[in-house]
Structure formats: structure tokens, C-alpha cells
Amino acid sequence: MGFDLQFGWTGTVSEVVLGRTRAEGGTRSVSYRIGGGTTLPFLDTDRPSPSPLIAFECCDNPRIWSTIVRDYCGDLVNDPAEWAKTAETVYGADMVRLNLTSTKERNFSDVAALKKTVESVLSATTLPLIIEGSNEPKIDSEVFLACGEAGQGERLLLGTAEASRYRSIAAAALAYDHSVIAQSPIDINLAKQLNILLREIGVARDHIIIDPYTGALGYGFEYSFSAMERIRFSALKGDADLAMPMCCAPADSLTIKEVRDAPADARDEMAVQWEVYTSIAAAVAGAEIICVRHPRSVGVLKEAFAGLKSHSHSRTAEVR
């Protein structure tokens, strides 16, 4: 009687490369090839499962950033380059996600400054970067082209394409050979639709990361969790338009009531737990890039992912 897991999957999650090392034409110290899974996360007992990448989120204008993180990180938040460097050297993140929050300021127009910020972060950290650009049709095109150009050769991951605004970001990605995050509102169908739209304007499948939109734990995460499971499930069943790796970026985790209302001495812990529980569940559901905002979440998750990766086969257990 075989007690091995047998799903009969036929599909494979497509592989996406993040970052470029010097050898590959970039300047990163490491590049990642994620995807490639042929079963559900952490279930492949024949070869080591890849660990989800932990991306630490920082920003170039902390005004709208979580006060918890601002309090915890202190002055760092005013210097995105230094902050990114700390994420690599101190927090131990695998990637840095730079949110260009300055573009959210009213009448923002200083695209040249953005470009500089991206360049400075690129030189401060050796990790592959996710750049989260603007969300304003009037400036999108200019912003994404500037970011794309600044990161030419580095195989950035640019965010975020949505069904209502994907042309500018796709154009920048195509022009400078970057990948894009395709975000849809917690729905497998809408995720697939966006992937088709991107494909039809020329973005290759191996340049797309699905962001199914992660609702914060207690605020819609149940929908996100199942959307992720369904997307992974469809990928393994052979739907190429859903076979991209996913990222989990619960942007609201640190602004929800439980975290906001936690007593001052427990606020950091509440923030970290909220991120950790969300991230573990998302990773098990299929997310391969896990974005967090609290520095302490990085270490906890690293350890947990190591635990999830390690299998002791029943056979070895018997020998023990």
C-alpha cells in the first residue's frame, strides 16, 4: 500500500528570475529563480522545496508608513538606501521592496528624484529589488519608465499592474527587461484575466508574479488564502495563465484595529504575530515571495520556512 502523496498534477509553476548578478549582467550579489514547483508547497519530498523569499518593505516617504515601523526603525525610515542596506545586513531579508510612496503626494512630479532614489537603493543593497511605483494614471508611464531605466540590467520586479492600468508598467518592463507584479482583487478569475491581458501585450509568462491581493488576517485573509490555493491548484492542473509564482503582500496588516489598538508594550509583538501568521498560511497556500514590514518578522519567518522545508521521511524515522 503506497502512502505517498499522489495528486497526478501535470502542470508546473513557471520560473521567474529576480535580480541579476554581475555574471548575469547586473550588480546583485544574488539572483533568485523561483517557481518550478510541481506540487503544493513544501510537499515535494524528493528534492528540497525552495524557501519562500522574504522581502522587506521600505519606502521613500515615510509619511504614510506605519507608525509602528517608524518607531521601531527610527531615523532609518528617512533614508531608503540605508534602510534597504539594514534590511539586508541586519534584518536578514532576501529581497527589498521599495515603495515609492513619495508619488502619492499630491501633484507629485519629481521623477528625477525617484530615479535617484532607486539608484541609491540599488547601490546600497546587493539584494534583488521590488519597486512599487505610482498608482496614478497621469504619472504612471513616466514613473515606471524612470524606475525601469534606473534598474536596467538588474531584472527588477515592478509593481503593480492591475486590470485598469497595466499598459504603462508593461511598457517599462518590456523596454528594460524587468518583471511585473500583476495584482487582482482576491479572485482567481480576475487574476487570470490580468495575466491574459499582460500576455496579449507582450509580457512573457516568466516575467509575471501574481499578487492575488492579501487581505489582512481577520480582514479578508480567508479569501486571499483560498484564492492562492486555487491559483496554485490551477497551475498544477496545467493552466498556464495561472502558473506564475505568487507574492503575498498584506499591506494592511499593520494598520488594522488589533495592531493599532494593542497596548504600547505589545504593539510590536502584535504586528509581528499578525505578519507571521499571515505569512505562514500564505506560504503554505503557495506564495513564494512574502512581503513584510516589521523588521522582526523577517527572522521569525526565516526560521519557520526552514522548518517547513525540512522533511524527515517516514523511512528515516523508522531507522531512527
Binding site: R167, L190, I196, I201
Partner: protein, 635 residues
């Protein structure tokens, strides 16, 4: 007395020993073919006596039988006398073949078997030696003229009262109208002299917007006149919900009489066109949605529209038309189609009758589109149905330049994929004033083929063409320049219009998918897709498929039945036997509440794409769009 049982119907009749089989058969209501009038001259009335004793001189009529018939013991009904209890087989060929009629919207012919018939009879006045009563005399006369057996005819008191004077005044020449109602035969009218050619019936589609009436000559089986007009209830509310609320507040009587008035108006104008007297309309058949028929009959519809959405009546009803104020013969009958649920009403049952999907083993999908849409999937064994709001986009509502199918409405559109110049056709070929639902569907299909919009319906404003504009509120595409129109404005379709259209088509497609899932069938199992509703007349089937409003299938397997409600009503009027299946159809249909269906939301979202998120469900469309895209280069 001897009992004669006719096979295969097992109809039984008691007759005196010595009567002929023909006599018995006629009394039992069997329409035996007797060209010679029962004199043993035509040889058409061949029957087979299976059990029992008869007298028949077979040698005398040998010329009428084949060897096979002789071997099976054939005899002539008119020349065989009954001696004992019998079992008699009447072969199909011996029965009178009913006239067959082709009805608009129905592919196969319908047998002509109306429920009302008028018989002209010339009676012998009574004498001292023949003192049978007036009624007996009259009814026997009708029976002899081919009418039903005398003792089976019920005569209502008001007709009874007229008989003595009428018979004598008309010198014993009268025309009697017999109606077959659920209780049996009924003498509903008696007139002096020969008026037997003047008998009409009306089939009515009582829609919430429009009322359509067909007037049929029930002697010739031909349409005498057609008329339609707006439902006068519109003055009490545009949609059904508003009208039910109006009834709640102000009582039902106004809506009831407006419904009747609307039908009367249609009957009057059809009668006038045909040059006939409304008094000669002896039967009216009405198919309408559940709320409409409730209102027409004066039954409170308030409970239909609130949870748990239960109609009061679910079976077909026959009532006296005069009781609800229908202006026709005073004894005219009214037959109302049955309903299934709040949304699946008599109009849908009529659609089903019209397309014949309930008669076949093959699976059909029926889609009736108006402001609401109803979908039925099934065959002769089972049927699933559901209904939903299509949104007004397909009727031209909530679309900037949308309009109903009135003169000047653009109803057909093609767009050159390179110049983006459209070619359109309007109703009555006058300058355009707006776009109808079918025109909108065409536009949508053409815009996606020309890569002007992406699969979510968003206009690519990067396209360098004067017809593609950013618009005041939404990006838009110019279908007709102001100078080409009758309204002096550019007729455009906006991104928002397209959104609304996509929402409508997604609802319809998701409803189809929901039923298919419930039944466990795929699009390959569906033999025919029927479109019904006024909208169906003009629909471009291919474009409806391209935008993904219906499951993809061979275009020639999609059929427009147009106004199925009136077609169904026509069928039921022309052939009373068809009415028998209506309750059975209504009883067979399982209704699925889309809102309670957990997967509906999912199917809806996946349908909000052109043609669909799962492109493998639309291989033909996918190939077509792919080739369009390649031809254009990726836009």
C-alpha cells in the same frame, strides 16, 4: 347494452346491441374517417375487432381490404353491428387526419385542433310523433354534424334560457359553439342561421412592456390579424416591482383593469384590421410572466416578489373571459399558461412549447432575454431553470446612446479593423438616433476583433484614430459622427457602456453555466440553443458568441424563436392537446435560485471577460480573436 372498448385509447362506450361500430365510435368521440357518410361505399373506416361478437358481411366488401388486413380480420365500422361486448382496434389510418398548420416561430407543423368549434345545424321541428325536447334535438343535431356526443355536452343555464325562442325564431337553423373545457364539452353560444364560418380565437403574449395578439380564423386555421401595443400598466410603474408596489399601495383593481384594457386594445385593433366582430372571438389564450398573469386574473401578486417567492397559482387556468372584462364573445373562454416560480412564468412555458425542447431526448438551452433573462436547460425528461437581471443595457438602457428597437436605432454594426470606420444599419433605414441591444452586441464584438478594446472591455486610448477618444468621463469610440445622425450629436459607445454590457452578458453566461453544472453537461452536450424574447429577432448569433454571452457552439445550432411567448400561445390556441403538456412541463422544471448558488459569483466573474476567462470554452472565438490580433499586430 353492450360495452365497446376502443384501442389503443381504451375509450369505452355503452351502446345498444345492433348499433354499428361507427355509431359507437362517433359517440365515443373518435373521429373516424367516413368519406361516404357511413354507407359502406368508401372503405375508409377499417377497424379490427379483437374480442367479441359482431356481424359483418366481409365477402361483400372484399375489394376494400388488402390480404394482410383480411388476415388480421379487418372490417368496416359502418357495416359491422355490435352483438356482444367488444374490443375494437382503430388503426391510425382510419382516424381523420387533422389539418396541419405552420406557425411563425415554430419549425414543425401543428395539428389543427382548436378547443372551440361552431356547428351549423338544421333541425326538424318537433311534432306530436317526434316530441323530443328542444335541447335533445339541438344536441343530437350537433352530434350528427360531427360534434361531440349529445349527452356529454353541458349547457349552461344562460344558453339554455335562449334555446326555445332562438330555435323557433330561426326556423330551426342555428349555429352552436362547443368549447372543450377542463370539465368537458360545453355549449357556450347559440346563434341564428349559419354563422359557422365566423369563429375566431386570440393568442396573446401579455408582456410587462408590450402586449401582442394574434387573431386566428378557427375554421381555416389562418391568421386573421395581428396587433400589438404597450402594456397600459406602464403608467403605474416601469418595471414589475414598481407595479407590485403600486398594487400594494393602491389596490390591485387598477392594474387588473389596465391589463385587460391592454389586451382589449390589441384585440380591437387586430379585429378591426381583419374586419371581424369581436363577438366572434370565442377563445383567448394568454401567456405572460407570473406577475402579469396574476394581475390579469386579479390575484394578489405581492407574495410572489418577496421571500420565499411563491406564486399563488402554478397550474394552467381556464376561466370565463368576461369575468375579467375581456371584450369578446360573452361566453368566450380564457386559457392562461401555467407558471413555475416568480421568474419562470407562462411566457417561458410558452417558449418551451414553441421550441419543442420538452419533446426531445436531445438537450437544449433556451435563453429568453428582456430586462430580466430566463434560462432553461433540459430535454423531455428533466429541466433546470433560472432567472436573473440582465440589466437594461441589452435593451438600450443605461447606455449613453442606447435605445429600444425603434426607428432610427442602429441594430447592425460592422467595423473595419484597420480604418476603424463602422458600417451600420438602422431600423427603417433612417439616420441613426441611438443604438439597440443587438447593435451594441455587434459593436462590442467588432471592437474586440479590431483590438480597440481589451478583453475586459477597456478602450486602448493609445490608438491613433479620431474615433478613439478620451471622452468627458470615460474613454469612448465614435460609432457615428454628428453629421451622420438624426440627433446632431456624435453617437458613441463609452467604456462605461461596455462595462454595463459586459456585466449583462456575464450574468447571462454565468446563468447558463450554472444550469449546465447543475445538470453535469458541457457545451458539447447541448444540441440547440434557442433565443427568445423580442430581442432575439435581431440578434447576430455569431457576435453574441464572440462576446461570450452564450456558450460557444456551432452557429447553425443557435436558433432565434423570436417572441416565443406568442408562438407558444398560438400553438396552444390552435391545438388544444398541446395544453395538456403544459402543466407537465411546468411540473418538470426545477428552479435554481442563482443568488443561493455558491458558484454563481465565480462563474459570473469568469464571464466578465471577452469572451471568457477560460478561453478553452470558446475555441472558435479564441482562434478568431487570435487571428485578428495577429493581423493587427499587438496593439
Amino acid at each position: 347494452m353492450r360495452t365497446v372498448t376502443f384501442l389503443p385509447s381504451y375509450r369505452k362506450i355503452e351502446v345498444a346491441r345492433g348499433s354499428t361500430i361507427l355509431d359507437a365510435a362517433q359517440r365515443a368521440g373518435m373521429n373516424i374517417n367516413v368519406v361516404c357518410g357511413g354507407q359502406g361505399k368508401c372503405g375508409k373506416c377499417i377497424v379490427y375487432v379483437q374480442v367479441g361478437k359482431t356481424e359483418f358481411d366481409r365477402q361483400k366488401y372484399l375489394q376494400f381490404f388488402t390480404e394482410e388486413e383480411l388476415a388480421r380480420g379487418a372490417c368496416l365500422a359502418c357495416e359491422t353491428t355490435i352483438q356482444g361486448d367488444l374490443q375494437v382496434v382503430i388503426p391510425e389510418s382510419t382516424l381523420i387526419q387533422e389539418q396541419k398548420i405552420l406557425i411563425e416561430g415554430k419549425e414543425t407543423e401543428i395539428e389543427f385542433r382548436p378547443a372551440v368549434k361552431k356547428y351549423y345545424v338544421t333541425l326538424q321541428p318537433p311534432t306530436l310523433t317526434d316530441p323530443s325536447p328542444d335541447l335533445t334535438r339541438l344536441l343530437w343535431g350537433i352530434q350528427k354534424s360531427g360534434g361531440p356526443v349529445a349527452e356529454k355536452i353541458y349547457v349552461p343555464l344562460e344558453v339554455m334560457r335562449e334555446i326555445p325562442a332562438l330555435l323557433r325564431h330561426s326556423d330551426w337553423k342555428v349555429s352552436g359553439t362547443i368549447a372543450l373545457v377542463p370539465g368537458g364539452y360545453r355549449l357556450i353560444d347559440l346563434q341564428e342561421n349559419d354563422t359557422s364560418k365566423r369563429i375566431y380565437g386570440a393568442a396573446v403574449d401579455l408582456g410587462s412592456t408590450t402586449v401582442v395578439a394574434y387573431l386566428w380564423d378557427l375554421v381555416t386555421g389562418k391568421v386573421a390579424g395581428v396587433a400589438s401595443n404597450y402594456n397600459k400598466q406602464i403608467s403605474c410603474g416601469e418595471d414589475i416591482l414598481a407595479r407590485v408596489n403600486f398594487a400594494r399601495k393602491n389596490g390591485l383593481s387598477k392594474l387588473q383593469s389596465l391589463a385587460t384594457d391592454s389586451i382589449n386594445a390589441a384585440l380591437t385593433s387586430a379585429s378591426n384590421t381583419a374586419g371581424i366582430d369581436r363577438e366572434d372571438i370565442y377563445e383567448v389564450v394568454v401567456a405572460g410572466n407570473t406577475v402579469m398573469t396574476h394581475m390579469l386574473l386579479g390575484i394578489d401578486p405581492a407574495y410572489i416578489i418577496a421571500e420565499p417567492y411563491v406564486p399563488v397559482v402554478q397550474r394552467a387556468l381556464s376561466v370565463a373571459a368576461a369575468r375579467i372584462g375581456i371584450a369578446a364573445n360573452r361566453n368566450c373562454g380564457l386559457f392562461v399558461f401555467p407558471a413555475v416560480s416568480d421568474f419562470i412564468g407562462g411566457d417561458i412555458i410558452a417558449d418551451i412549447l414553441a421550441c419543442g425542447m420538452g419533446e426531445r431526448q436531445e438537450i437544449s438551452l433556451l435563453i429568453d432575454i428582456g430586462t430580466n433573462f430566463e434560462v432553461v436547460l433540459g430535454n423531455n425528461e428533466w429541466m433546470f431553470s433560472c432567472a436573473g437581471a440582465a440589466g437594461p443595457a441589452l435593451e438600450g438602457g443605461e447606455v449613453l446612446f442606447g435605445m429600444r428597437a425603434n426607428p432610427g436605432a442602429i441594430e447592425k454594426v460592422t467595423i473595419d479593423p484597420f480604418t476603424l470606420n463602422p458600417t451600420w444599419g438602422t431600423i427603417n433605414n433612417i439616420k441613426p438616433r441611438g443604438i439597440t441591444g443587438s447593435g451594441l452586441i455587434d459593436t462590442l464584438a467588432e471592437l474586440i476583433s479590431a483590438c480597440v478594446i481589451d478583453r475586459t472591455g477597456r478602450i486602448n486610448t493609445g490608438i491613433d484614430n479620431p474615433r478613439v477618444r478620451k471622452g468627458a468621463h470615460f474613454p469612448e469610440f465614435v460609432v457615428a459622427w454628428a453629421r451622420e445622425t438624426d440627433i446632431g450629436k456624435d453617437i458613441v459607445i463609452t467604456e462605461n457602456d461596455i462595462k454595463n454590457l459586459i456585466m449583462s452578458k456575464a450574468s447571462i453566461h454565468a446563468a447558463c453555466v450554472t444550469l449546465m453544472k447543475e445538470a453535469g453537461v458541457t457545451r458539447h452536450d447541448i444540441t440547440t440553443i434557442y433565443f427568445a424574447g423580442a430581442f432575439g429577432n435581431y440578434l447576430n448569433k455569431k457576435n453574441a458568441t464572440i462576446i461570450g454571452m452564450i456558450p460557444e457552439t456551432d452557429i447553425d445550432r443557435i436558433k432565434n424563436i423570436g417572441n416565443g411567448a406568442v408562438t407558444g400561445a398560438n400553438i396552444a390556441l390552435i391545438n388544444r392537446r398541446e395544453r395538456k403538456v403544459l402543466d407537465a412541463i411546468a411540473g418538470k422544471i426545477a428552479y435554481i435560485e442563482l443568488n443561493a448558488e455558491p458558484s454563481f459569483m465565480d462563474d459570473y466573474t469568469s464571464s466578465t471577460f471577452l469572451p471568457h476567462t477560460d478561453l478553452s470554452l470558446f475555441p472558435m472565438v479564441q482562434a478568431l480573436l487570435e487571428s485578428c490580433r495577429l493581423r493587427k499586430g499587438s496593439g
